[in-house]
Structures are given as C-alpha cells and as structure tokens.
Chain length 323, copies 2
C-alpha cells in the first residue's frame, strides 16, 4: 500500500466543491455549533442526511449525547458566520438571532436551507465519526449558497441549459462573435446609450461627461492629467474642449501653463445626478442577475481592469489604486 | 413528526453545492460506473472518503462484491461525461481512454482528481447504502472542477482573500469607483487602447475600424443599417465618413439612395488581421484567469449584453441573434 501524504490528500479532496454548513446542537444548557463541509444527502425515503465530525473535536460529546442537531446550509452572505463557527474559544452564538427547534436546538437565520434532524446512526469513519440524521423538519429559504473549493470560498454561477451549445459556438467562432472585447464594448455602449437623454438634457458631450466624472472622483486635476486619463478612451482634452463647461459654470481653471481644473458646486451637482442615473440604469440591467452573479461579474471585470491597466496617472488618488 | 415532501426535500438539499463524481468498479469482467454527487471526505488518517448508492441501483451488486472502486472528481470540461454516466442502457465506457487500477478498476482521465479506494465499511442509510472507502492511491490533476447546484451545473469562481474588503468598499462607495459601467468601460477602452498601434499602422480611425468589424460579420450592409448599428456606440456613418475606406480600396458602395456597403478582398484581409490582433490582446489580458473564470465572465457579459440590448438592427444576421 502506498503512503498517503496528508497535505496532498487534503488538496486533492479540495477539488470536490462543497457548500458550507453550520451544524448546531445543545448540551448541558449550552448552545454548540461548528462549521462543516462534510455534509451530504443520503436518503429521500426516509429523509436522511449525513456529516462527519473529528473524534478530537470538543463538541463530540454534545453530538453523542444529544440526538437532535440542525444543519444550516449557509448563504453566500454568511462567509463571516462560517469563519466564526470555525473558530475556537469564542462565544459563537453571540449576537445571533436564534429560534429553537427540537430538543432546544439553536436555529440560525439567513441561511439557504435548514434541516432539523434526529441522529439515526453514528458510524465509525477513521479519525471522524459519521453522523446520519433523519430529517424531522426542514426549511428552504432559496438564498444563493456559499461555496467552498480548493481550500477557499468561491462564488458559483448557474450554467443555463443552453450553455453547452454556447460553449461549442464559442470554440467554433473565428470571427469574434463571442469575443470578450466585442461583448464588453457592446455592453458598455448599450449602458451608456441609455444615459444619452440625461446627457442631452444637460447638453453634455462625451468628453465633457468624462471630465465631470473624473473630477467627481478627485475634485481637482491639472489639465495635463485630465488629458492623460482620457487618452485611454481615445479622447483628448485641452482648454478649448473645456470652454463649454467653464462657460456654464461647471468647472473653474486656475494657473498656467498647466491649469488646475476643478468642479464648482454646480458641477458637483451635475456629477451626482449623472452617477445616480448611471446606477439606476445598471440596476435595471442587472435585474435578472442574483447577488452572487453580480459579485462574480464585478470581481472578474475588476481583475481584468487591473490586468489591462495602461500607463496613465492613477484615477483614484484618495486611496491606494485598487484596480 | 412532520411529513416530508420528497420534491421539496430534494430542492432544499440542492442548496448544498457539490462537485460531481463518477464512481467506477469492475464486476464479472464488465466495467461499471455511475455519476454521483453524494461524495465527501471522511478521514485524513487513515485516508477515507464516502459516497452513497441507491439500494435500487442495478450497480449495487457490483459494488457489494468488488471491494475496489475509484472516485473521479470531474473537471468543468466533463459535463458530457457526467450526463453519460448518469444514463442507463448505454455502454458508458465506449470511446473512453481507460487505464486500470486495483482489482482491474477502470480509471478515466481528464478529471480534477481521482481516488482509488478499497471499501472499508458499507453502512445502512435509508434507501441508500453508504460506502466508506479507504484511499489506497490518488492523483490530483488540478483542473477546475465541475459544480452542481440546485439541480443544475454551475461554474465556480474562487473568491480571493481580499474579496470581503472589496465587497465592503463596494457597499461604501457612493462615487462609482466600483460601478460596473465604469469598470466595463475601463476594461473595454484599455483593451482597445492596445490595438491602437495596429489601427495606426493601417491609418484607421475608430469609425472606420467599427465599420470594417461590422462588415466582417455580415459582408454587405445598407449604409442606413451601418449608421443604426454604430449609433449605440455614439458614432454616425454617412458616405463622407466612408470616403477614406473607399479610396483605399477596403470597401465598395453600390446603389442609391441607400447604398449597399461591402468589404473588398483587401478589406476582409484587414478585418482578419484586426480580429487576430484583438484576440491576441485578449489572450494576454486573460493570462491570469483560469478556463472556468473566462467561461463565467463571458457568460455573464453575454447575458448583460442581452439585458441591455438597444433597438438596433441585428448585428449577426447569418444566424439567430444570440445576445
């Protein structure tokens, strides 16, 4: 028989993606709970689930002596709760709104699904005990679940049924129909297109809109920096391009030869309106996306922004450049 | 005790995300295999894993009589294999490149990780039998794994450690630093910016580049349609804007009052070069992303393109409009 390296074995097991659960019980008048990803379904009739617990766990006695336990499948907003119930030496239940189940079991809220169980079997499993519970009661809250993969948290996005066909088309398409640059540009332009009425109402062209946006982030900039920042989007800015914004009282320019440009109160107001309108358009566009999908999309686009960053002055000078 | 509705119970269990495995063995000279997501780790020392099998399964006898089985954690490119091993009445192993493990077990390739096991325990589990296997040997191939959630396949993206902070900044930021429109525009412009040398080499401006791209998809268009298509990105096209492309022999225009515009052989050649250059820039940008992440990003951006589509003529007229 081969010798199994525990670290490599653990890493290989990490290839199996899981949800994350918190399993709770009550023992000697004290609420007990721990984070586990060793949960799985066993039987539909009778309804049964299982999970396993290290024999070295300080909670083993509680689960051995109380036949009731609850399994909470955590939602993707409960990463902090997962961390909390994986710690030792803290009051894990502090600040948690609890209800009570069978045998006074503590029940947590905000999860994706919850199962109240009575232990049917405790089985030998090497350095763990396998608990098989008959499900007495359950609730399915439908929140997107937290995911664990390769030793870290992950975000999962459902594959639509037509995905395999899409993927095949992507492989086959040499003309860029599914090319990411095209898709990104299309989405960006379509989102911007919906802002046109607001820009028209304020009689702002594209360069003027961008200048207001940049100054909205960091209220004062040398003209040369504005020009360098807009260069990436194919625009250039000089005093003539800013004349319209000055005349309407949205910006002021001071100094020479590289004047510092800043927003006036009226300019800041316009910026706030445009940011709000952009946010509203985004919210409409994202209506069919769940919270986890928006997180994933934003995260990946942010990484791509970082990976493709150009050699321009930082836009966000108030704090460390994040993207 | 409450009555458990099996369908609702199954849906609630689906909230627990899992990987997908194919478990194989050999019995009476025949290779046996089936898809299971009831896998989980049990013990590190001794190394043990478990999975469960319905008592009604035709494969039960094989797993009862052969003590050796192999668990394959499927990679995200093995969705078809998952479907294949979930079917009945077909030769599941047809066309699969197999190697042989302990007890002549069939071993499949292309998975994320693989465990060769000897059954240590067979436990009662309601309508299923729980198989606990001692791991004799394993391999970790490191491919991104296939994920199953809420009754369908999913794609998982790792959350980097700094994600919680990112998320907090996103919630706190009222000025759009993390706003999706801004990020999408930034990425698009940064990708396009890297194409500038190629555009300059061909002396193409932005409108000319877009016209060549649109005609590259569908080689002939009325001028009015070109104009309508470019409107979303804030451009407009008329005969004057196309004069440069005509003079250089990249396009021809025929008819009046709405001439049909088409690419010449030289124009098609330029398009191929620009598409290839764009692809190469994209590939560089995506170097730090794994296959699953690129799939997720492309899928989500495509959905967003669909959700924000404007009332313009279809770009892709050769087949059904996908986005």
């Amino acid at each position: 028989m081969n010798v199994i390296d525990p670290k490599q074995f653990r890493n290989a097991l990490g290839a199996f993606t899981t949800g994350v659960t918190v399993v709770t019980t009550r023992h000697g008048g004290i609420d007990i709970g721990l984070t586990a990803n060793s949960f799985n379904s066993v039987s539909l009739d009778p309804p049964m689930v299982l999970w396993s617990l290290a024999k070295t766990s300080g909670s083993l006695q509680a689960f051995n002596e109380n036949d009731y336990f609850a399994v909470h499948i955590l939602s993707n907003r409960q990463e902090a709760l997962s961390g909390r119930f994986a710690k030792r030496g803290i009051d894990k239940f502090e600040g948690q709104a609890l209800t009570r189940g069978h045998g006074e079991m503590p029940l947590l809220s905000g999860c994706s699904a919850r199962f109240e169980c009575r232990t049917a079997y405790r089985y030998e499993g090497g350095d763990h005990v396998i608990f098989v519970g008959e499900v007495l009661n359950f609730e399915h809250f439908g929140l997107p679940p937290l995911v664990f993969q390769s030793g870290g948290y992950a975000l999962a996005v459902k594959k639509p049924a037509e995905y395999a066909a899409e993927e095949a088309a992507y492989q086959a398409d040499s003309f860029g129909r599914n090319a990411l640059t095209y898709l990104l540009g299309r989405v960006f332009h379509q989102l911007r297109y919906q802002l046109k009425p607001q820009l028209a109402a304020h009689d702002l062209n594209d360069v003027e809109h961008q200048v207001i946006g940049v100054l909205g982030v960091c209220e004062e900039r040398p003209l040369s920096e504005l020009d360098a920042l807009l260069k990436v989007s194919g625009q250039s800015v000089d005093a003539a391009a800013l004349a319209g914004l000055r005349e309407r009282g949205y910006i002021v320019m001071q100094g020479a030869p590289d004047p510092r440009v800043s927003l006036t109160a009226a300019g800041r107001q316009i910026n706030i309106e445009l940011v709000a309108a952009t946010k509203s358009i985004e919210d409409d566009a994202l209506e069919g996306f769940d919270h986890g999908e928006v997180q994933v999309l934003t995260h990946l686009v942010r990484r791509l922004a970082h990976a493709t960053r150009a050699d321009t002055p930082p836009l966000w000078t108030r704090s460390r450049e994040a993207v």
